[in-house]
Amino acid sequence: MDVPIAYYLVLSAILFSIGVAAFLIKRNIITVFMSIELMLNAVNLTFVAFAHEWHRVSGQIFVFFVMVVAAAEAAVGLAIIIAIFRARNTLNVDQVDLMKL
Protein backbone atom coordinates (compact mmCIF):
# COMPACT_ATOMS: atom_id res chain seq x y z
CA MET A 1 0.00 0.00 0.00
CA ASP A 2 1.50 3.24 -1.12
CA VAL A 3 0.79 6.78 -0.21
CA PRO A 4 -0.27 8.53 -3.45
CA ILE A 5 2.40 10.84 -4.77
CA ALA A 6 -0.02 13.73 -4.87
CA TYR A 7 -0.08 13.79 -1.10
CA TYR A 8 3.65 14.29 -0.93
CA LEU A 9 3.51 16.93 -3.56
CA VAL A 10 0.75 18.83 -1.85
CA LEU A 11 2.54 18.57 1.44
CA SER A 12 5.77 19.87 -0.02
CA ALA A 13 3.92 22.66 -1.80
CA ILE A 14 2.34 23.61 1.51
CA LEU A 15 5.70 23.52 3.25
CA PHE A 16 7.22 25.62 0.49
CA SER A 17 4.43 28.15 0.78
CA ILE A 18 4.85 28.28 4.53
CA GLY A 19 8.51 28.98 3.93
CA VAL A 20 7.68 31.82 1.54
CA ALA A 21 5.13 33.26 3.93
CA ALA A 22 7.50 33.02 6.87
CA PHE A 23 10.18 34.78 4.84
CA LEU A 24 7.79 37.63 4.28
CA ILE A 25 6.44 37.86 7.80
CA LYS A 26 9.26 37.09 10.17
CA ARG A 27 11.47 39.87 11.42
CA ASN A 28 14.33 37.96 12.96
CA ILE A 29 17.05 37.27 10.45
CA ILE A 30 17.67 33.81 11.86
CA THR A 31 14.01 32.94 11.49
CA VAL A 32 13.96 34.31 7.97
CA PHE A 33 16.91 32.14 7.27
CA MET A 34 15.17 29.13 8.76
CA SER A 35 12.25 29.71 6.45
CA ILE A 36 14.63 29.39 3.50
CA GLU A 37 15.79 26.08 4.87
CA LEU A 38 12.16 25.07 5.11
CA MET A 39 11.68 25.90 1.46
CA LEU A 40 14.71 23.85 0.49
CA ASN A 41 13.52 20.90 2.48
CA ALA A 42 10.10 21.14 0.92
CA VAL A 43 11.84 20.79 -2.43
CA ASN A 44 13.77 17.82 -1.09
CA LEU A 45 10.51 16.14 -0.28
CA THR A 46 9.34 16.72 -3.82
CA PHE A 47 12.52 15.22 -5.18
CA VAL A 48 12.26 12.14 -3.06
CA ALA A 49 8.64 11.68 -3.98
CA PHE A 50 9.34 11.96 -7.67
CA ALA A 51 12.40 9.74 -7.39
CA HIS A 52 10.18 7.13 -5.90
CA GLU A 53 7.54 7.65 -8.55
CA TRP A 54 9.94 7.35 -11.45
CA HIS A 55 12.10 4.73 -9.78
CA ARG A 56 15.10 6.87 -10.49
CA VAL A 57 17.77 7.24 -7.89
CA SER A 58 18.98 10.51 -9.38
CA GLY A 59 16.28 12.39 -7.50
CA GLN A 60 17.63 11.10 -4.24
CA ILE A 61 21.17 12.05 -5.18
CA PHE A 62 19.83 15.49 -5.85
CA VAL A 63 18.64 15.60 -2.27
CA PHE A 64 22.11 14.84 -0.99
CA PHE A 65 23.50 17.72 -2.92
CA VAL A 66 20.76 20.04 -1.83
CA MET A 67 21.49 19.14 1.76
CA VAL A 68 25.17 19.86 1.38
CA VAL A 69 24.51 23.10 -0.43
CA ALA A 70 22.03 24.07 2.25
CA ALA A 71 24.67 23.40 4.88
CA ALA A 72 27.16 25.55 3.03
CA GLU A 73 24.59 28.26 2.69
CA ALA A 74 23.83 27.98 6.37
CA ALA A 75 27.48 28.41 7.25
CA VAL A 76 27.88 31.44 5.02
CA GLY A 77 24.53 32.82 6.09
CA LEU A 78 25.35 32.57 9.76
CA ALA A 79 28.71 34.20 9.14
CA ILE A 80 26.99 37.08 7.39
CA ILE A 81 24.45 37.32 10.16
CA ILE A 82 27.23 37.50 12.74
CA ALA A 83 28.91 40.25 10.75
CA ILE A 84 25.63 42.15 10.59
CA PHE A 85 25.07 41.72 14.29
CA ARG A 86 28.53 43.02 15.08
CA ALA A 87 28.06 46.01 12.83
CA ARG A 88 24.59 46.95 14.05
CA ASN A 89 23.74 45.07 17.18
CA THR A 90 20.41 43.95 15.83
CA LEU A 91 18.98 40.92 14.14
CA ASN A 92 15.81 42.61 13.02
CA VAL A 93 15.65 42.56 9.25
CA ASP A 94 13.56 45.68 9.23
CA GLN A 95 16.45 47.61 10.68
CA VAL A 96 18.86 46.55 7.99
CA ASP A 97 17.77 49.20 5.56
CA LEU A 98 20.55 51.71 5.32
CA MET A 99 20.48 51.67 1.54
CA LYS A 100 17.28 52.53 -0.17
CA LEU A 101 15.70 53.91 -3.33
Partner: protein, 135 residues
Amino acid sequence: MHSQNYFWNYLPLMMQIIVAVGLGCSMVTMSWLIGRHRKSSVKLAAYECGVPAEGDARGRFSVRFYMVAMLFILFDVEAVFMLPWAVIYRRLPAITGSRMFGFWEMLVYLGFVLVGFFYIWKKGILDWAQDKGDL
Protein backbone atom coordinates in the same frame (compact mmCIF):
# COMPACT_ATOMS: atom_id res chain seq x y z
CA MET B 1 -4.63 1.45 -4.72
CA HIS B 2 -7.89 2.67 -3.39
CA SER B 3 -8.11 5.74 -1.27
CA GLN B 4 -10.67 4.27 1.06
CA ASN B 5 -8.45 1.33 1.78
CA TYR B 6 -5.61 3.68 2.09
CA PHE B 7 -7.20 5.63 4.91
CA TRP B 8 -8.33 2.51 6.75
CA ASN B 9 -4.72 1.45 6.84
CA TYR B 10 -3.96 4.36 9.06
CA LEU B 11 -6.84 3.87 11.44
CA PRO B 12 -4.70 2.29 14.18
CA LEU B 13 -2.30 5.19 13.97
CA MET B 14 -5.15 7.60 14.27
CA MET B 15 -6.50 5.79 17.28
CA GLN B 16 -3.10 5.83 18.92
CA ILE B 17 -2.80 9.57 18.39
CA ILE B 18 -6.23 10.12 19.85
CA VAL B 19 -5.42 8.02 22.87
CA ALA B 20 -2.09 9.74 23.42
CA VAL B 21 -3.49 13.22 23.12
CA GLY B 22 -6.50 12.27 25.25
CA LEU B 23 -4.31 10.80 27.94
CA GLY B 24 -2.07 13.85 28.11
CA CYS B 25 -4.93 16.28 28.17
CA SER B 26 -6.88 14.31 30.72
CA MET B 27 -3.92 14.08 33.08
CA VAL B 28 -3.32 17.84 33.04
CA THR B 29 -7.02 18.55 33.41
CA MET B 30 -7.46 16.06 36.20
CA SER B 31 -4.56 17.41 38.22
CA TRP B 32 -5.88 20.91 37.75
CA LEU B 33 -9.33 19.84 38.85
CA ILE B 34 -8.28 17.69 41.77
CA GLY B 35 -5.23 19.56 43.06
CA ARG B 36 -5.31 22.52 45.40
CA HIS B 37 -4.19 25.93 44.13
CA ARG B 38 -2.03 27.90 46.50
CA LYS B 39 -0.24 30.78 44.84
CA SER B 40 2.80 32.06 46.67
CA SER B 41 5.92 33.66 45.26
CA VAL B 42 7.93 30.61 46.04
CA LYS B 43 5.50 28.39 44.21
CA LEU B 44 5.53 30.63 41.13
CA ALA B 45 9.30 30.94 40.92
CA ALA B 46 11.09 29.00 38.23
CA TYR B 47 12.28 25.68 39.48
CA GLU B 48 15.89 25.01 38.63
CA CYS B 49 17.14 21.91 40.33
CA GLY B 50 16.31 23.41 43.67
CA VAL B 51 18.54 26.42 43.03
CA PRO B 52 17.07 29.92 42.48
CA ALA B 53 17.18 31.00 38.81
CA GLU B 54 19.94 33.33 37.76
CA GLY B 55 20.08 35.68 34.79
CA ASP B 56 18.21 35.46 31.52
CA ALA B 57 17.77 32.18 29.76
CA ARG B 58 18.40 33.95 26.45
CA GLY B 59 21.84 35.18 27.37
CA ARG B 60 24.39 35.74 24.65
CA PHE B 61 26.82 33.03 23.83
CA SER B 62 30.30 33.60 22.62
CA VAL B 63 30.43 33.69 18.86
CA ARG B 64 32.84 30.78 19.08
CA PHE B 65 29.94 28.45 19.74
CA TYR B 66 28.39 29.44 16.45
CA MET B 67 31.68 29.10 14.67
CA VAL B 68 32.25 25.61 15.90
CA ALA B 69 28.63 24.71 15.27
CA MET B 70 28.81 25.92 11.69
CA LEU B 71 32.04 24.09 11.05
CA PHE B 72 30.60 20.99 12.55
CA ILE B 73 27.59 21.18 10.25
CA LEU B 74 29.82 21.59 7.25
CA PHE B 75 32.15 18.72 7.98
CA ASP B 76 29.30 16.58 9.15
CA VAL B 77 27.28 17.04 6.01
CA GLU B 78 30.25 16.42 3.79
CA ALA B 79 30.17 12.87 5.00
CA VAL B 80 26.85 12.41 3.26
CA PHE B 81 28.61 11.90 -0.03
CA MET B 82 30.33 8.84 1.29
CA LEU B 83 27.02 7.11 1.67
CA PRO B 84 26.11 6.63 -2.00
CA TRP B 85 29.74 5.99 -2.73
CA ALA B 86 29.83 3.21 -0.18
CA VAL B 87 26.63 1.72 -1.53
CA ILE B 88 28.02 1.17 -5.00
CA TYR B 89 31.68 0.83 -4.07
CA ARG B 90 31.82 -2.79 -5.08
CA ARG B 91 30.33 -2.04 -8.47
CA LEU B 92 32.60 0.91 -9.17
CA PRO B 93 35.35 -1.00 -10.99
CA ALA B 94 32.76 -2.26 -13.43
CA ILE B 95 31.28 1.15 -13.94
CA THR B 96 34.46 3.18 -14.23
CA GLY B 97 36.46 0.51 -15.99
CA SER B 98 39.31 0.89 -13.57
CA ARG B 99 39.91 -1.13 -10.46
CA MET B 100 41.01 1.55 -8.07
CA PHE B 101 39.49 4.63 -9.66
CA GLY B 102 36.59 4.80 -7.23
CA PHE B 103 38.97 4.54 -4.32
CA TRP B 104 41.23 7.38 -5.49
CA GLU B 105 38.21 9.45 -6.35
CA MET B 106 37.10 9.37 -2.74
CA LEU B 107 40.60 10.11 -1.57
CA VAL B 108 40.67 13.24 -3.73
CA TYR B 109 37.36 14.26 -2.26
CA LEU B 110 38.62 13.71 1.28
CA GLY B 111 41.75 15.61 0.34
CA PHE B 112 39.64 18.65 -0.48
CA VAL B 113 37.84 18.30 2.83
CA LEU B 114 41.20 18.12 4.55
CA VAL B 115 42.32 21.30 2.82
CA GLY B 116 39.33 23.03 4.32
CA PHE B 117 40.19 21.61 7.69
CA PHE B 118 43.78 22.75 7.33
CA TYR B 119 42.56 26.21 6.42
CA ILE B 120 40.35 26.73 9.44
CA TRP B 121 43.00 25.25 11.66
CA LYS B 122 45.71 27.60 10.39
CA LYS B 123 43.33 30.53 10.57
CA GLY B 124 43.05 29.85 14.28
CA ILE B 125 39.32 29.24 14.36
CA LEU B 126 39.76 26.04 16.34
CA ASP B 127 42.04 27.74 18.83
CA TRP B 128 39.63 28.24 21.68
CA ALA B 129 42.02 30.15 23.92
CA GLN B 130 43.32 32.63 21.42
CA ASP B 131 41.40 35.87 21.56
CA LYS B 132 40.25 36.91 18.15
CA GLY B 133 37.85 39.68 18.93
CA ASP B 134 37.28 40.55 15.30
CA LEU B 135 35.99 37.18 14.27
